[in-house]
């Protein structure tokens, strides 16, 4: 069953068409990878779904409701959380306070918000350093904090913009584990990511974008063996034989 549908979405910046007539369906509970070269329109698509850009044309349907053109905070209230390519932790407060702010989304009291925050911090394995200030965090911790914050809002769908960028291979392995754990809780994930190893192992389905359009869609195996994917983005090394 589709949790998110994007129909004929268009976004232009002056003469540049960043996203052109894009259709996309995200099924409930799946982990969808969104790949493509820089400038393909992946982040623009995220920004339209999350309410940061208003589409010039098209529709965004979330859980059967039209959310096209809603403000970012309204989109969050509908159940879509997001992270940013360049992380944006609140620097002068602690990890716990950062996540409590997300927790207020679904809470009636500070105690409830704290509980939601604690649950998210447990999943992201940040519970042992809740008092660390946002300004003192390493890149992997900043990435995890953002996911925890979005998760604490009670989001059903998370849009993760390059969650692996800046991480070492071992950190990526750990981050993949955490994302699997989140997915295991029934949360739908859409991941923009350049690390193909991560995408191939984590995602059940992949959409390849190029120049604002959807070039391909399919399982990791289908996409990685398609000549068009190899030409547009992957290169020869990702060819899967047999």
């Amino acid at each position: 069953m589709a949790i998110l549908e994007v129909n004929n979405l268009v976004k232009r910046f002056g003469g540049l068409v960043a996203v052109h007539d894009l259709d996309m369906t995200v099924n409930e509970g799946e982990t969808l990878g969104l790949i493509g070269p820089n400038g393909a329109g992946k982040t623009t698509l995220f920004n339209m779904v999350a309410g940061y850009y208003r589409p010039d044309k098209g529709q965004v349907i979330f859980q059967d409701h039209d959310i096209t053109g809603l403000k970012p905070y309204e989109v969050c209230r509908r159940g879509i959380g997001r992270t940013f390519q360049t992380t944006k932790p609140f620097l002068d407060i602690s990890i716990l306070e950062n996540v409590v702010i997300g927790g207020f989304m679904q809470a009636h009291s500070t105690a409830e918000a704290r509980r939601a925050a604690q649950d998210a911090l447990d999943i992201l394995e940040l519970s042992d350093r809740v008092e660390t200030l946002g300004s003192e965090l390493t890149v992997p911790d900043r990435k995890r904090l953002e996911i925890a914050r979005a998760l604490a809002t009670g989001a059903k769908l998370l849009l993760l913009d390059e969650p692996m960028a800046g991480l070492t291979p071992s950190e990526k392995g750990h981050a993949s584990e955490l994302l699997r754990k989140i997915s295991g809780q029934g949360i739908t994930l859409v991941i923009v990511e350049h690390d193909m190893k991560v995408v191939m192992t984590l995602c059940s389905r992949i959409i390849l974008m190029d120049r604002g359009e959807k070039l391909l869609e399919g399982s990791p195996k289908e996409v990685s063996s398609d000549p068009r994917a190899i030409t547009a983005y992957l290169g020869e090394e990702y060819t899967v034989s047999g």
Binding site: A50, G51, Y52, K71, P72, Y73, C76, R77, G81, R82, F84, K88, P89, F90, L91, D92, I93, S94, E97, V100, I101, G102, F104, M105, T110, A113, E131, T132, L133, G134, E146, R149, A150, T153
Partner: protein, 359 residues
């Protein structure tokens, strides 16, 4: 008996250091401030200076609520002036007691906030700061140049005075400075507590988030424009209340005294020197800037143009070298004292607790 048990319990909590050092210092300072008017009974000049510190500390703390939501206002004298003129005119021309007039003052100051806040707080960047500056200027020009607004005489820039009523608590006038002193102290303590309470509330968390990063805040379901507007309107209302008190204390008003751009700058200066995004900073700023201003006035009275120049230099130095104001080193010192002497045996977790920089 019950009271004794309460005192014993308090003593026990102090001995076992369960009360943070910050609260103990606040209590000591409050007790000292309560003693001041009795100790300086024969010197009403000092008492007057301390009242002035309270008033400006109050104004800057009210102004600081806007800072907590990440915005700067350079027109707060407008709201102070609206408060002062409203209660002053209602009493002197219509005989309305300031106890009632203050509610009208608060209402009108809030209305002023609505007029500039709604269109500008939706925009990002400097528009809000510019709009507050422009609003302050417009109100100043109106009051300076109009003699009447409808049936209300506003003086066209002239000095207006409140009719003296002697010792008359019913119209908020007293012979001695002491009642004003305690009222101003209560207002300052009240607003700092309120600011602290806001800071720890859901709204305070939202202000911190908006101040930190608006995009990130909105991704967490926070309507940034709405919460910034709330911060601004609460600030306007409280500044209007402060203006009303200002009026009752000084008993004369003119555009220069309560509406001038220099008054807006003074409020902002105190806030910035103290720490414009913090709870206690603006109050600390009041305790620093008001005595400095008074010393300048006494020593450079013959050169009135010097004060704004010195203010400007102080402001530049703070923006360059201490953008978070004296509050930051003050809090760091307090944390150090707490760790080193007050609760040396507490574990690292508690140290971090105190480190959270939201005060």
């Amino acid at each position: 008996m019950k009271q004794n048990r309460g005192i014993e319990a308090l003593g026990e909590r102090l001995r076992t250091r369960q009360i943070p050092l910050g609260w103990v210092i606040i209590a000591v300072v409050l007790i000292l401030l309560i003693i001041v008017p009795f100790a300086w009974k024969d010197n009403s000049y000092y008492v007057h200076i301390v009242i002035t510190i309270f008033i400006w500390g109050y104004m800057a703390t009210a102004w600081g609520l806007v800072g907590q939501s990440g915005q700067l206002s350079f027109g707060h004298a407008a709201f102070m002036g609206i408060g002062a003129y409203t209660t002053g005119i209602l009493y002197s021309q219509f005989g309305v007691t300031p106890w009632l007039g203050v509610f009208v003052a608060i209402g009108l100051a809030t209305l002023g906030g609505v007029i500039i806040g709604i269109p500008t707080l939706r925009l990002r960047g400097v528009y809000f700061a510019l709009a507050t500056f422009a609003f302050g200027f417009i109100i100043l020009m109106i009051v300076k140049n109009a003699t009447y607004i409808g049936p209300v005489y506003i003086g066209g820039g002239a000095f207006l005075t409140l009719p003296r009523a002697g010792q008359a608590p019913a119209v908020f006038q007293f012979e001695s400075k002491t009642p004003y002193y305690f009222m101003a102290l209560a207002m300052l303590a009240g607003i700092v507590y309120l600011s602290h309470w806001f800071n720890r509330s859901r709204m305070g968390f939202y202000w911190t988030a908006i101040r930190g990063d608006q995009d990130a805040a909105e991704s967490l379901g926070i309507d940034a424009a709405k919460y910034r507007l709330r911060a601004f309107l609460i600030s306007c209302a409280l500044t209007g209340l402060g203006g009303a008190f200002f009026m009752q204390y000084f008993r004369f008003f003119s555009p220069q005294k309560v509406l001038d751009v220099s008054q807006s700058i003074q409020i902002a200066l105190i806030g910035i020197v103290g720490g414009w995004q913090s709870v206690f900073g603006p109050m600390i700023g009041g305790f620093i800037i008001v005595p400095v201003a008074e010393l300048l006035r006494l020593n450079l009275g013959a050169f009135p143009a010097m004060s704004p120049i010195i203010y400007g230099i102080i402001l530049m130095l703070f923006i360059l070298f201490m953008p978070n104001g004296v509050n930051e080193p003050f809090m760091r010192g307090l944390n150090w004292l707490e760790r080193k002497y007050w609760r040396p045996s507490q574990n690292a977790n508690n140290e971090n607790n105190e480190k959270v920089g939201r005060q």
